[in-house]
Symmetry: C2
Subunit: 203 residues, 2 copies
DNA sequence: CGCTATCAATCAATCATTTGATTGAGAAAA
DNA sequence: TTTTCTCAATCAAATGATTGATTGATAGCG
């Protein structure tokens, strides 16, 4: 009302709203699971009215897809944070483990929400379309590393790269769970022992 | 009405009902997830009225606990099916893999429901109380096998038994997922290569 | 043996609340 | 002014659960 007051924009843009909505939904999925996810709770967490939520995201289904896309985007951004060019296979593997540690530290809910959405992807093709390629990408990174490591002599030569990649991603994901969190470091160490070639072990 | 008709019991006992209810709920959890689990759907699947379901199981919460207990009991029964006495560590490990194959073949939904309940156990102490000991038991079996195998020279001597057990159970659970099912055998083979000592490899 | 009382189990109808979503008016921003 | 965004109120259906009447099964008694 005061004419001297600077015109400060008060409203978030549509994109900002959707980011906030996805954030709130992710937090709530961790707290209550998919089965306890309620659109009203999300709206309240963001600080908007339920109708506003529907204005920005047309349905609950679309909201879950937004969450999936948000996970994918964060995961991608994380993956691009630490380029791997110039690193040998052993160092690359260790960098992947460090990245996982960072995810656990900075985005603790990411793996947990991912786990719920991976389950959901069995039943929902729309979610599968977003989540499975992302999971495949993560697994594929390890597959590449193992392939390289076999060639350069860092890793046990009889490794099946694709199978080993599944072993690693599954083990890491499992250690995201709170009751398994204390096991993360021993499991990472065990994975290294399992795959590095003892003769050329650089640890 | 017919006096010659044998007196055939028409009603199932309470225990039988609860078993049927747990079965139906398990199937529906796989089809629709925990988030899509509805008491009316369960009642319909069993062939009883919703009030009858509540007669036998007082609340939805109690129903999920019943499912958890049902999983635990089936898992136990499966574990007792193949005694491991007299087997060396390598054979024991292979037997565990065979048991997992049997579970996948005979009770395909068991691991999937377990996965959803493990997630839920983070949020629900009642479920945690049933599920986590069972999961710990499964992991513990592998821990014991690894310990034995290190001592008898079957396995790589620098294995951390507890960590290796987590790696194995996580990898097996991951391969339960339909899009990962084709990877089960290569992953099992990779696990064997990772843990068996090459020198005394009996494969 | 037949009848009765009792208890367990079942059901249709209903309840109270929740849930995803919509409507129409008004506010904010461009 | 027009467009975008927000809100309170509301809708229609779903949801977990309850109620009261009825049915089925069985034990006990004459």
């Amino acid at each position: 009302m005061c004419p001297e007051q600077a015109p400060i924009p008060k409203r978030e843009s549509g994109d900002e709203r959707r980011i906030a909505i996805a954030r709130a939904a992710r937090a709530l999925i961790i707290e209550k699971g998919l089965e306890g996810l309620r659109t009203r709770d999300i709206a309240e967490r963001v600080g908007i009215n339920i109708a506003t939520l529907h204005y920005h995201v047309p349905s609950k289904e679309a909201l879950v897809a937004l969450v999936a896309a948000s996970l994918r985007d964060d995961f991608k951004a994380q993956a691009l944070r630490h380029p791997k060019e110039g690193l040998d296979a052993g160092a690359q593997l260790r960098q992947e483990f460090n990245e996982f540690r960072e995810i656990v530290a900075e985005m603790p809910e990411l793996i947990g929400v991912l786990s719920e959405l991976v389950d959901l992807s069995r039943r929902d093709p729309t979610i599968a379309e977003i989540i499975l390629p992302m999971q495949a990408y993560w697994t594929g990174q390890f597959t590449k590393i193992f392939r390289t490591g076999i060639e350069d002599g860092s890793f046990r030569p009889n490794i099946d790269p694709a199978a080993a990649a599944i072993v690693v991603t599954a083990a890491l994901s499992d250690c995201w769970r709170p009751h398994r969190r204390p096991s993360l470091e021993p499991v990472i160490a065990e994975l290294e022992r399992a795959f590095f070639l003892p003769v050329s072990n650089q640890g």
